[in-house]
């Protein structure tokens, strides 16, 4: 069938076709999402034959997975490695929240600044994938993120020992959501917010703005979960 592994002694280089398909797919998946992107558009953009996509990657879903893992896996490994080093540097003291957040953000920033690794295109694709309802995408992200999230969660748990574990889980959920949503860069709301889209901040400045916002949220007091409906029922007695 297919053989991607080079046997010993062979000098055949990896064909450019495969990389061209990955690059084109990354851009088009980012622009239009998974369902709305066709293999014909991808192979046309990559200037390769249609059948090459199925030959090299199997199915469209496998291609999407390849596009995602190519960049996401190394980035998450960087995140964990950076967190390890930062924690080791201050041991046995606990690493404060802002440094932990840094370990989460800096690898994303570095990826955004490196055009050879997809630049901000890939981060947008990642943000979109977060909100995609397709089961195989959710499974894929779960697998890719599980380790990293667990590692950061325990780090945050040490930095915020007073915070109940369940509340911490939710706040991490909010953080990952805000991060992915921001990176997805739906420009519709930027325009709403009266931001000039042409002189708009790049991803770097954007994450610099997001970090203090989320840091403050992490240190927020516990929510009052009692008397849920009081305010709710009282605010709207009648139509004005």
């Amino acid at each position: 069938m297919r053989a991607e592994v080079l046997k010993l002694g062979e000098t055949r280089i990896t064909p450019a076709t495969k990389a061209r398909i990955l690059d084109a797919a990354e851009t088009l998946f980012m622009e239009h999402g998974f369902e709305a992107t066709t293999l014909r558009a991808i192979t046309a953009s990559a200037e390769v034959n249609l059948a090459s996509a199925n030959y090299h990657f199997g199915s469209k879903e496998d291609l999407f997975q390849a596009v995602l893992t190519r960049r996401l896996d190394p980035m998450n490994q960087e995140r964990v490695a950076l967190l390890d080093r930062l924690e080791a540097a201050v041991a046995p003291e606990v690493l404060p929240c802002d440094r932990i957040l840094g370990a989460l953000f800096i690898p994303a920033l570095r990826l955004a600044r490196d055009p050879d690794r997809g630049g901000s295109n890939f981060l947008r694709l990642l943000g979109r994938a977060y909100a995609d309802p397709a089961p195989f995408i959710r499974r894929l992200l779960s697998d890719q993120y599980a380790e990293m999230i667990a590692r950061f969660k325990s780090a945050f748990g040490r930095a915020l020992p007073h915070l109940p574990r369940k509340e911490l889980s939710w706040r991490l959920h909010f953080i990952m959501g805000a991060l992915s949503y921001t990176l997805a860069g739906t420009d519709a709301l930027k325009i709403i917010a009266e931001l000039n889209p042409h002189e708009s901040d790049n991803d770097e400045v954007l994450l610099r703005r997001l970090a203090p916002f989320l840091l403050a949220g992490l240190h927020a007091p516990m929510p009052d979960l009692s008397e849920i409906s009081r305010e709710l029922d009282h605010e709207f007695p009648h139509r004005p």
Copy 2:
């Protein structure tokens, strides 16, 4: 062609078909997204003829718009109306941030608790739509949100006079992002966070947790946007 408006004196009731299509479309669009949901699945679920969808709504995009505006328009009107009343009640003093956030959240909570208005299904659909790259969806949301966002932005501006307008725009962007992402309810990350998905919080408790988180973010200190690359270049001198 088509006539939805009843002439004077006519007593013909609105056919159930139209509502059945809207309800089925709401659920299916929520579950699978716009592209992956077919008109055949919608009409089959609604137990109506396939052509009925095009007859009543024109195109698939128009149907999606009808599903969205049916609930979103009234909810955003409620938000603005509630904000007006809260501000009038404390005038001439400025309304504090937590009350403004309440005006943003409470109508969403009320919608989530009302099964007749789509319950939490619709909020999930809304969250998904936020991240959808399709241009017509982005245009649609821009139109639906523009007024409401502008109104809340000026309210927050009065409550946070020290905050630069651009920073406020971004924080509002983060808030709407976190809100929609949370409502979208991608369960993949809930599982990651080791939350029991079966005894999971409902939308009401969820928003109660989100509100203090975002409130703290609003009051966060200004980010330091100088020396952007210092930390970045320093953290990774070499591979370990």
